[in-house]
Amino acid sequence: MKLSTGDKVLQLFIYIVLILLGFVTLYPFWNSLVISFNMGSDTSLGGITFWPRVPTFDNYEVVFQDSRIGQAFMISILRTLTGTILSVLFTAILAYGLSRHELIGRRFYMVFCIITMYFSGGLIPTFLLLREFGMMDTFWVLVIPGLISVYNMIIFRTFFLGLPAGLAESARIDGCNHIGVLIRIVLPISGPVVATLSLFTAVYHWNDWFSASIYINDPSLIPIQTLLKQILNSNIVTDQLQSVGNAAAQDRLALVQSVTTKSLIMATTMVATLPIIMVYPFLQKYFVKGVLIGSLKE
């Protein structure tokens, strides 16, 4: 098809806008990465944009030496793993139950679930409830309140309803109970939807900083994002630099002097981003599908 002059101008315009957009999206990320690999004292002279001027791993060395960052990283990993596995499992069990036509009370159960998508108690009553349950300053406060996701349940259920009915029925006739049918037949053929929802849940858990910021005071239970938020907000880093200087041997001192607050923040930010970048190719593969299933329901 030949393009008219007007169409060519339009094409050119669109390409330019999209390239600019791509640049604006990537630049902050790239620049932060560059700063995290550049010597801090050099960065503060200015002019660091696309490439490190004095490349170094010092910033990361200081980050990895800090025990709090390592601890917070572990809490984040632990919470992401337990939170994702348990939430996807329990949500799938509920969705399977609600997908069975013979379930007595099915309509009631569905309405009971869907109401919670439109109404909620809000921040304060939820906070006080968890507090009265004694869940403050426990690891489980990061996992338990999100165990059942009604939104994910609906996506699961829609998928289960689309499976051929004969599969489950034949297993039932062979004497398999419902839990067996779910684990041995339904879940193994639900790979894509399990993957999509697991990735979404995992990303939520990894990225969540707010719940820990209100429910957890114990520094040993703080996840990485919450710690990073605290670091960004205050001058914790300067204390941290000093503590590294005191604790480490004299030869560390030179290293510490070249590391600045800014370079350290950027290195910590990169460490907290890395897992997302690592799963991003998988996310990409699945989420378009997930978003579309979700939006059909809206």
Binding site: Q11, L18, C113, G122, L129
Partner: protein, 317 residues
Amino acid sequence: MEIERRLHIRKEGSRVSWWTGWIRQWDLQLMVVPAMIFIFIFSYLPMYGVLMAFQDYQLFGGFLHSPWVGLKHFEAFFNSPDFWRVMRNTMVISLLKLCFGFPAPILLALMLNEVRSIMFKRVVQTVSYLPHFLSWVIVGGFVGSMLSTDNGSVNMLLMSLNLTSEPISFLSVPEYFWGILVGTGMWKEMGFAAIVYLAAIAGIDPHLYEAASIDGAGRFKQIQLITLPCIRPVIIIFMILAVGNILNAGFEDILILATNPILRDVSDVIDTYVYRMGILNNRFSYAAAAGLFKAVVSVTLLALANKAARKMGSSLW
């Protein structure tokens, strides 16, 4: 018989009582009932707990032993000087997000649809989704670094173009805050929000375009006369949702970007106000009253928006 029992086939007119049927499918009920109890505890109890907005909630007495005070906290909220400030910020930020954040993904989807090179399209899409998956904390780190007075890239650019003689402290100037907030939100969510529109565009019958092109319509005319009208229902649905969300001016993004108390005059919205009053200042009942006020207005707005949309021929439910 055995098979029928296992499959729980209920014969027409069979006199199996509700309870017997329930017991027979115990394994199925066991998959649902615990989850219902869970939802009751973690979703319905807090809904009931909203009634604390009518109490003077005492930490040590708890919900059950706190005195009832009627509308005291609502009156205090409406009469407080904070009320108008918070409402103004909520409405302004929301409307700005609606005006700029809402059309942006539609425009992006329209532009991506015009791109002929599949490779280029895929690369732009991949890049544009990425920020959606980053935590607000990380985005906050990026914004802080970009706008920093200590050789932030934006200040370096402005200074090299001689637009400013000394670095601007963007995140401490109230005048810039709304722009930064809305811009960052668009940066983070535009690509992801475009997915739905791209899918809607992909569903349009290609014959329509062929016919239009034979009739001499250029690409621009085709967008205007075919693409936009075809994705109109999707746009309307998202519009309704956006109106229902108008009091959700932001929460995480504001908490992250407005750390400087100087910004409070322009950054306080209902949600952040509830957080500050309730969680940070321990004025639980007062904060719950403000939250409840917001919830009631939101539900009303959603219902009204849906009614309006029904007149235009589409609806949420």
